[in-house]
Symmetry: C2
Subunit: 231 residues, 2 copies
C-alpha cells in the first residue's frame, strides 16, 4: 500500500521534468502539488476568509478529489500553516539606498510585515495559534541582526524583539479585525454616545472612529523605538 508521507515532509520526486508531453487531455488541470494547493488555499482564504476554507472547496477549485489533497498535506491545520508562512516572505529593504540607518530598516521591515498581513487579513487572526515557519523565522533573524548591529545589548535583545513583535502583532490583528467590521465600529461608537456618562473620555476622543491606522502605527512604533534606543 502507499506509504503515505510521514511526519517529516518528504517531497515528491521531481520527475516532472522527465514527463512526456501530456498528450492526454491537455485541457485538464496540471497535477496536484503542495505548491499549487497552498497557492489556491491563499486565493480561497482571500476570497472567503478563514471560515470559508474547506477541504471540499479547495479540492473543487483545484479540480481534484478531496482526498487527493491529503497526499500532499497532513490535514487542514497543515494547510493553514503553509498558507500563512507563504504569505509572509520578506524580500528585504529597497536596495536603492544600501545601508541606511538602522531605524529606517527596522521600520521598513515591520511596516512591510504589517502590510503583508493586511493584504491577507485572515493571516492576522491565524498567526497567533500557528507554528513559526521559515519565512517568519527569517524575518525575526533579520530584525535581530539589525538591532544587534545597531548596538542593542545582547541582554536586551530578546526584550526588544518581543516588544516589537508584540506591537506589530497587536496592531495588525486589531486593524484586520476592525477593518472587517467597519459598521460594527460605527455602531459601537454610537453605543458609546448613548452611554456617554459611562464612557465619556473615549467617546470624546472618538477612539473607535479614528481612521488613521497607518499614521497611528508609525507614530506608536516611533514611540516604542524611542523607548528602546533613545536617540
Amino acid at each position: 500500500m502507499a506509504a503515505k508521507r510521514s511526519g517529516a515532509r518528504s517531497k515528491r520526486s521531481q520527475r516532472v521534468s522527465e514527463r512526456l508531453q501530456p498528450v492526454q487531455e491537455p485541457r485538464s488541470e496540471p497535477p496536484l502539488s503542495r505548491e499549487r494547493i497552498v497557492a489556491t488555499a491563499v486565493e480561497l482564504l482571500d476570497d472567503r476568509g478563514v471560515d470559508g476554507l474547506t477541504m471540499r472547496g479547495l479540492a473543487d477549485r483545484l479540480g481534484s478529489g478531496v482526498m487527493s489533497l491529503y497526499w500532499h498535506v497532513d490535514n487542514k491545520e497543515d494547510v493553514f500553516d503553509l498558507a500563512l508562512d507563504s504569505v509572509l516572505e520578506y524580500r528585504g529593504p529597497p536596495q536603492i539606498v544600501e545601508s541606511q540607518d538602522w531605524r529606517e530598516e527596522v521600520v521598513h521591515l515591520l511596516e512591510d510585515w504589517r502590510a503583508s498581513m493586511l493584504r491577507h487579513p485572515w493571516s492576522a487572526s491565524l498567526l497567533p495559534r500557528r507554528a513559526l515557519g521559515p519565512n517568519i523565522l527569517s524575518r525575526l533573524e533579520l530584525l535581530s541582526m539589525t538591532l544587534s548591529r545597531a548596538g542593542v545589548a545582547d541582554a536586551d535583545l530578546n526584550v526588544a524583539i518581543w516588544s516589537l513583535w508584540n506591537y506589530v502583532m497587536g496592531a495588525t490583528i486589531t486593524r484586520a479585525s476592525f477593518d472587517v467590521s467597519d459598521d460594527d465600529r460605527a455602531a459601537a461608537q454610537q453605543r458609546l454616545t448613548r452611554l456617554s456618562e459611562r464612557y465619556s473620555t473615549i467617546e470624546r476622543s472618538r477612539l473607535l472612529l479614528d481612521n488613521d491606522w497607518d499614521g497611528a502605527f508609525r507614530k506608536g512604533l516611533a514611540f516604542l523605538l524611542d523607548g528602546l534606543a533613545p536617540r
Copy 2:
C-alpha cells in the same frame, strides 16, 4: 408561536423571585439563564479550549437540551462574545494607596488585563475577532482617563491608547499560544540549531527559549511608556 427575542437583547422577566419553592424534583438543575450559560461556557472553554466548546457539550454540562440554549443566546458566536467579555471585568487598582502616580496605575491596569486573559488562554485568541463588550470598553475608558489626567495631550491620546492596546494584545496572544505549545517551542529552537547558519542570531540569543515572559512584558511596557511620556 414563541416570539423569540429579537436582536436587541430583551432579558427574560425577572419573575424568578415570585416563583413558588421548587417542590418538583429538587435534584434537577436550576433553570437556564443567560448568566448560567455564560459561566458554564467559560468553564468549558477553560477545560477544553476554543475548539472544545460545542453547543451540545454546553447543553450537556448544563443538563438541558441543546435547543434550549437558543432561547437565551442568539447563536454560538454570541456565546463567545459573552464569555469573552465576562472574563475581562476590571475591579480597579488596589485601593490601599489611592492616588499613586499614573504610571503605576497604567501598569497595574495592563498587567491585570494580561493576567485576566492568561487565566483563560482562549480569550486571547478570541478577542481580536469579537465585538467590544462593556467590560472591555470600561477598561479602555479608565486607561484613557488616567493617561489624560497624566497630561497626555488630547491629540496624542488615541495613539497612546492604541499603542498600549497593541502591545498588550500582542504580548498576551503570543504568550498564550506559545504556552499551549511548549514542546513545539523547544522543537522550533532545535530546528533553529540545525539550521544555525541561516538563523544564527536568534539561535544564539535563544529567542524561542526565553521563559521570563512576565519580566519581558514589564520591561517592554516600561520602554513603551518611556517613549510615550518621557520622564
